[in-house]
């Protein structure tokens, strides 16, 4: 990694800590999960909703939730366009590999950051707490390998 690249990565870290927007966004996610459970009895786990949508194509609510996810994020990005453009130039094969691992792993593990990390932990599910520890640890490991051993800035 070049010195300039290292500096850019450095700068984008703790210097960019955004506690207020993180808490507001997090609270909205918690409100969303609560409403979905109260109104429809479903857990707001995005991977589970997606796997189910692919398996049961006629489960309309799953597609509507996913469409809402895109639209909700789109509204905010439209109201408040981010200073930096979306990431481009990160090796496409790596992005594809990441997607395959995430799709396969969440199907096998029965959840992701929202299903296990938010909803499961909120119900104090030991299974979800174990899952969260597992994916955060391997996530840190893989960032260490990609960023620091291979020197890929992202």
């Amino acid at each position: 990694m070049s010195i300039a690249g290292f500096y850019r990565v450095r700068q984008s870290g703790v210097a960019n800590f955004t506690p207020v927007s993180a808490l507001i966004g997090g609270a909205l996610i918690g409100i969303s999960a609560t409403l979905l459970l109260w109104l429809t009895g479903r857990v707001a786990g995005v991977s589970g909703i997606m796997h189910g949508a692919l398996l049961q194509r006629r489960d309309t609510w799953r597609w509507l939730f996913l469409a809402g996810l895109v639209a909700g994020a789109g509204v905010w990005l439209w109201l408040s366009p981010p200073a930096a453009p979306p990431r481009a130039g990160y090796p496409t094969p790596l992005v594809l590999l990441a997607g395959v691992l995430v799709g396969f792993g969440t199907a096998l593990g029965g959840g992701c950051t929202s299903g296990h990390g938010v909803c499961g932990i909120s119900r104090l599910s030991v299974r979800s707490i174990a899952a969260t520890i597992s994916f955060v640890l391997t996530g840190m490991l893989s960032v260490f390998i990609v960023r620091h051993l291979f020197g890929l800035a992202s």
Binding site: Q11, G13, V14, F17, A22, L23, I24, G25, G26, A27, L28, I29, S32, A33, T34, L37, L39, T40, M50, L55, L64, F65, L66, G68, L69, G72, A73, G74, V75, W76, P86, R87, A88, V95, L97, A98, G99, L101, G105, C112, S114, H116, V118, S122, R123, V126, R127, A130, S134, F135, V136, L137, T138, G139, M140, V143, F144, V146, R147, S154
Partner: protein
């Protein structure tokens, strides 16, 4: 089925709120997520507060919701039946984490980032669909 339209509307609205939360907290930016996972480099604790904020709200509110015994537009709660910590959940989550650290997207932000029109997110979501199909072919329990 009763209340099907109400359930669909609920899913759309809760999806909107969820997507709004992901965008406001900048979790749709892979760089922001990777900085959280980069504990030996440029660590950014923001993601911890996103999860903390969500868990704080849900932990309090879920109690009241579940205590009601029944959802508003459905006859029963669809809560996960699995409670055991088995090899599937540990290995599956470990594989998910590896992919999370490579791409900087987990499923929610990956789908939500489609709204930014980035080719990056599109490739990621295509990969996720592929992974989901692969799981069904190779590892899904039979029967």
């Amino acid at each position: 089925m009763r209340h099907a339209a109400a359930r669909n509307a609920s899913a759309l609205v809760t999806g909107l709120i969820f997507g709004l939360g992901l965008a406001i907290s900048q979790m749709v930016s892979p760089r922001k997520v990777l900085d959280f996972l980069d504990v030996t480099g440029s660590w950014d604790p923001s993601l911890l507060l996103v999860m903390g904020g969500a868990v704080a709200v849900a932990m309090l509110a879920f109690r009241f919701v579940i205590k009601r015994g029944q959802p508003l537009f459905e006859s029963e709660f669809h809560l996960p039946r699995m409670t055991k910590v088995d090899r599937r959940v540990l290995v599956g989550s470990a594989i998910f984490g590896l992919g999370w650290g490579i791409g900087g997207y987990c499923p929610g932000p990956g789908v939500a980032a489609l709204s930014a029109g980035s080719a990056d997110a599109l490739v990621f979501v295509a990969g996720m669909v592929l992974g989901s199909l692969l799981y069904r072919r190779l590892a899904a329990p039979r029967g």
